[in-house]
Amino acid sequence: MRRIRAASAAVTASLLAAATACGGGNANGGGGSNTAPRELTYWASNQGPDIPADQATLAPELKKFEQRTGIKVKLEVVPWSDLLNRILAATASGQGPDVLNIGNTWSASLQATGALLPWDAKNFAAIGGKDRFVESAIGSAGAAGKDPAAVPLYSMSYALYYNKKMFKDAGVAKPPATWDEMVTIGRRLSRGGKWALGAEGANPSNNIHQAFVFSHQHGAAFFDAAGKPTFDTPANVAAVKQYVDLMAKDKIIAPGNAEYDKNQSLQDFANGKTAMVLWQSAASSFKAHGMKEGDWGVAPVPVPAGGTPGAGRNVNSMVAGINLAVFKNTDNLDGALKFVEFMTGDEEQKLLNATYGSIPPVKAAQSDPAFAGEDSTVLRTTLATSAAPLPQVPEESQFETAVGTAVKELFADAAAGKPVTTESVRAKLTKAQQQMSS
């Protein structure tokens, strides 16, 4: 009898385990409900130098939110490398957080899954209205003609960061404003084991940001008006080649950068091994690596010869940034809206963006003196006048991978001393385009 009881206990336990593995879902398909009004789960992206730094920054703010609303927020900071897959898994299983960060370039791709709450007039009204946000930031929150899939949280743009001491030692008075100057100055800086410019050659996302800007400067685009890929047009080939040539032909990027994909170029910059990096809101990372404010200068990213940063061919940055999205099947829609209202409120916008060195996408917060420094002024001006959003098409994330990987392979060729020719660049881009179209 005892044996039977033991056996049935085992069976019951395994059935329970099975039931909990399958069940416990909160998928209710509709526009969210409020069955758990006292709690929220929030996936924040890794913005600071590391995950504990983010936890330390966000914890007091979440506490503040709890004191005001009585809603407890469970925080998880997700590293960039995992974020997209985590979101996809959450979408497929319906077991996601209530509120989450997404990279703004993924907006249209994730919008296509239908898992994110659309920000229609009613939802925007709940957080103070759409007009509070900068227009270009809203433009990178979903496909044109649709309600945005997310709300802008932190805005960023690329800038040229340069090491003042290395410039002085090499007798260079000011940072390059055009690519021709970049190459001339770069050759003076690249000697004695030191290099002019850093790159994250093995990081497809970073590659795509640079390729996108070069493509604009060549008057090209990676998608046509109908949303079809046009990766291997002569202008795009020339654009990608110009970027990779900074290592292959001009030799102002160290070959070792071809294997960088964990922000090693920032470390090299802080250690005085490279004199310049093209980066978005890098100040807090430099400080974490031991640099002091004033050790580095900030200038706009170079443009083609004779030009000054502006719209059209003189675009010199993508509209970078983080958006805040709500999972459609949240158990606490009201709470999620309150949380988004809190995070995009003037007060939090000033505080969080100042901490992360980003620019508030909320107009009222931008005028705060915290964003009047040299760094912020360059980033803000770039965002306002010469940044363009990456293509807001559903295939955006595939595009990042396909073209970003092609550039990675070209950097590998350049590093290994293999020739990087118009032909070899075209072959890689054609292959990337065929992968997208299949």
């Binding site: 069976v11 336990a13 497929a92 319906g94 899954t113 497809p204 294997e259 990675k408 060729d413 299949s438």
Partner: protein, 337 residues
């Protein structure tokens, strides 16, 4: 042609632990409760394992097979059962060598075959050599044996990420030793994680990680060989090499057959090593099929095509395993005769 009648009931085996017969046939006569429990118990005990097997293996496998016949992309991931039916389109895409997807899959498959052959061969060779060497008692044998098992005991992630640091071009230990200390390979540091060398870097890590398992298994098999065989052989004048060839290798034969099969399956499917070493997209020379399928599914978000590739891989592995078992079973029967 007549239909074969169902097997007579007398051929059914008698239930264990009791006399078959009257109790079974006697209509309306209930079995004693104790016996019923005894019959039910094994099944009850098996049930949890069966249920978990169903949940952990069979259900996902069936889901994967269904997905391989659908157009599953980000548009349908939220409600994947509603993805449009694709028939054999995904399979055609995967095997069409005139299109980039099929061509890349074939390249990756061939790379994986070459990699598996080399890795399994080296793991087996090093593991067996070490096991034979460690048969003789000597000072420090226990310590050495423990040391050999370190790669097997370490968490894969930690070990492989350490290797990735060591293979870094500018700051890695490998180049420091090869170029700076030994003065080999010229003045310029070599790239190990980019280009063609990445294959050799991956192979090194795979063998480092895999051979201790071979060592462990072969050691266990060696310990089962009676000492008398060697003593008799020595008396007959057989040297060390002859003893290894005539006694050791044949005696560990059956274990080796299983060992090679397991190493083959593990290596062919290995995902962790290339993923930690190279990230989401491996260099072409080290683009193993597991990473390749991952990229098709999770990076380019074509889950249907990725599933089709997985099913093809599963079929290939099943075929190879079945063929291997048939051949080795035949050999075992020959040995028995």
């Amino acid at each position: 042609m007549t239909n074969v009648p169902p097997a007579p009931s007398s051929l059914t085996p008698a239930p264990p632990g009791g006399t078959a017969g009257p109790g079974r046939r006697g209509a309306g006569r209930a079995r004693p409760p104790g016996r019923r429990r005894r019959i039910a118990l094994p099944y009850l005990l098996l049930l949890p394992a069966l249920l978990l097997e169903l949940l952990v293996h069979l259900v996902p496998m069936v889901m994967g097979i269904v997905a391989s016949f659908s157009e599953l992309t980000q548009f349908h991931i939220r409600d994947w059962t509603g993805a449009p039916w694709a028939g054999f389109d995904n399979y055609e895409l995967a095997v069409d060598l005139n299109r980039p997807v099929g061509e890349a899959l074939l390249t990756s498959f061939l790379t994986t075959c070459r990699f598996t052959l080399l890795s399994v061969g080296l793991c087996w060779l090093i593991g067996t050599a070490a096991a034979v060497f460690m048969q003789e008692a000597f000072r420090g044998r226990g310590f050495l044996r423990a040391l050999f098992l370190v790669p097997y005991a370490l968490p894969v992630y930690a070990a492989v990420i350490t290797w990735s640091f060591m293979f870094q071009r500018d700051n890695g230990l490998v180049n420091h030793v090869v170029h700076d200390q030994l003065g080999l390979g010229g003045a310029d540091h070599t790239f190990w994680l980019l280009g063609d060398n990445s294959f050799w870097a991956l192979l090194t890590v795979s063998v480092w990680k895999g051979w201790p398992f071979a060592f462990l298994i072969v050691t266990a098999a060696l310990q089962n060989i009676p000492k008398e065989l060697y003593e008799a052989a020595a008396l007959d004048g057989a040297g060390t090499w002859q003893q290894i060839r005539r006694i050791t290798l044949p005696s560990v034969g059956p274990v080796n057959q299983v060992l090679v099969l397991v190493l083959f399956l593990w290596t062919f499917n290995d995902f962790n090593t290339p993923f930690v070493l190279f990230g989401k997209s491996a260099p072409e020379a080290a683009d193993l099929i597991s990473i390749h399928i991952y990229q098709s599914s999770f990076v380019t978000w074509n889950f249907g095509a990725g599933s089709a590739m997985s099913v093809l891989l599963l079929l290939f592995l099943l075929l190879v395993t079945a063929g291997y078992l048939l051949v080795t079973r035949g050999r075992r029967h020959d040995d028995a005769r």
